[in-house]
Symmetry: C2
Subunit: 118 residues, 2 copies
Amino acid sequence: MTLPHPNTDQISLPIVLGVLGDPTRLAIVRYLASKQGVPLNCSQFLNFGSKTNLSYHLAKLREAGVTRAEVAGTNRMISLRRADLDARFPGLLDSVIAAAGDDPALPAVGGHDIEVHA
Amino acid sequence: MTLPHPNTDQISLPIVLGVLGDPTRLAIVRYLASKQGVPLNCSQFLNFGSKTNLSYHLAKLREAGVTRAEVAGTNRMISLRRADLDARFPGLLDSVIAAAGDDPALPAVGGHDIEVHA
DNA sequence: CCAATTGTTCAATAACTCTTGAACTAAGGA
DNA sequence: TCCTTAGTTCAAGAGTTATTGAACAATTGG
């Protein structure tokens, strides 16, 4: 029941760059980075289009080695593979996240905070 | 007769990442970086596919703000916009180039050195 | 067991990307 | 002037990507 992930040495630079070259995915990565290593389930960022589309983009990120998805019941806990990416491409993720933070043209880091009781 | 380039503040992160997420263009960038700021004309890297295709990829790089192309007679002198990219996305270009340098799966930094007399 | 919740997979479609050859423009040199 | 050299533009093709709704699987809770 575990989902397929590349291991660290299989992560490819052009694939990672290509995957990050999409505004939706960049926003997802930025959102994950803003949560400082806490894994999150998908429903916390349903701002990113339809359910199907989010699933599609999360699969792209996972298959590229940018994120990790762990199955927890009916949820998938998504986290950034910070350490793996830093080991493979030192400084890359940090500079991308920093650059994304400055860019007002990007979709805002959405994700409603969890509210008990709506 | 000058070709269109974005100015520094128009350079977009997702576009730059998308443009760099192609092995051919990454190889071109890597080649330019290896020449340390010396502008080059196109014919020096005709290893990158057909003439048309090289023109296509160089236009992508230029339009994204990654390279500058200056017209010099019948040649175009191509250079990396290092300073502009560093100003806009600090550390990004360096980490990409460093990462590309380690990746054996990427096309080699070709570009035949200019030989007088074949 | 039945229903609700989470997320994936499938099929379809519109849009975009890469690649090519042929035709073109523009500058330089004999 | 005519030929060559350097690149671009055009038209077309194959292939890929992003997006959607419908149908599906799997877990949790009554």
